[in-house]
Symmetry: C2
Subunit: 178 residues, 2 copies
């Protein structure tokens, strides 16, 4: 399972590709960041993000895209731009018929570090350990995107285990009922 993680943003949009297989540690394929100039027009910035994301998809052929869920409660100056960068990511995914999953920042932090309140340094450290890297992907947005991809692999695996257990329980119950 190859996951493309995207930490949406206009100035720095983190991107990370991670491969995962059951029972094996995840492997980093590529991590980086899409930058657009803060003084460029918003439509051109969104177009630049779309163009580069298309290149990431073409280069790595991910099977799923994991993107950070944006909340309107984050009532900052940047929330609209972040939501639009996330929207462009979902648009690219839909165009390639790739499933998209959104994870909240605290879900990512909890999955990677065990705490939903971890800071950027802790996320970078855990990403480095999990992927057995010499150092954390830089900048922090790239590490966050990689963390999103790992979170998706692990939550997906967890959900698959729960689904399998429920399925088994149902089958056992069916047998008892028969």
């Amino acid at each position: 399972m190859r996951v493309l993680g995207v930490d949406p943003g206009l100035t720095r949009c983190g991107v990370g590709v991670v491969d995962g297989a059951p029972g094996r540690p995840p492997v980093l394929v590529e991590a980086g960041v899409i930058r657009t100039p803060a003084d460029a027009d918003l439509p051109l910035r969104l177009l630049a993000i779309e163009t580069e994301l298309e290149q990431w998809v073409a280069r790595h052929r991910p099977e799923v895209i994991a993107v950070e869920r944006v909340f309107s409660q984050h009532n900052t100056m940047t929330v609209i731009g972040t939501a639009q960068a996330a929207g462009v990511t979902m648009l690219v995914a839909a165009r390639h018929k790739l499933p998209v999953h959104q994870h909240t920042p605290s879900e990512v932090k909890a999955a990677i570090t065990g705490s939903g309140r971890a800071d950027k340094a802790q996320i970078g450290l855990m990403v480095t350990r999990v992927l057995k890297l010499a150092e954390a992907p830089k900048p922090a947005d790239a590490a966050d995107a990689v963390a999103l991809a790992i979170c998706h692999l692990w939550r997906g695996a967890g959900q698959a285990r729960v689904a399998a257990a429920l399925d088994q329980a149902r089958r056992l119950q069916g047998r008892r009922g028969a």
Copy 2:
């Protein structure tokens, strides 16, 4: 000057095309609404909006796109989706090298009705009068998109007059200085 106005939204995205020429009343070309089902996945909804906007652009070849500016202060459940629909609109515009202008709801209301606090019924009424229609474009989102396009024509015309006056003043000053 042909303007495509977009009132962004996921469930109902208003679209209106208006032609304007100096000294003549604006003329409605087409108004309508792009609908996406509320129970569909967000990426598919954004893709549907993009696909239909592309069709509007191909059908009418506008010279400029006017889209409602989305604010994070509108701290509702829908602000993220609205921002993403506006982002898709800007993306389509940038792809076709069309200039995009954002207008706030109160700028549109003030331009059309003379009051920044006009309600939907007043906007519908004024759009009907300005364009000499038998009745207001329906639903209200279509009328809002048409109002955005008219607002752009009128604000643009006003800005052009101011720019021309400033230009003339500068030339006069240059002559005096020479």
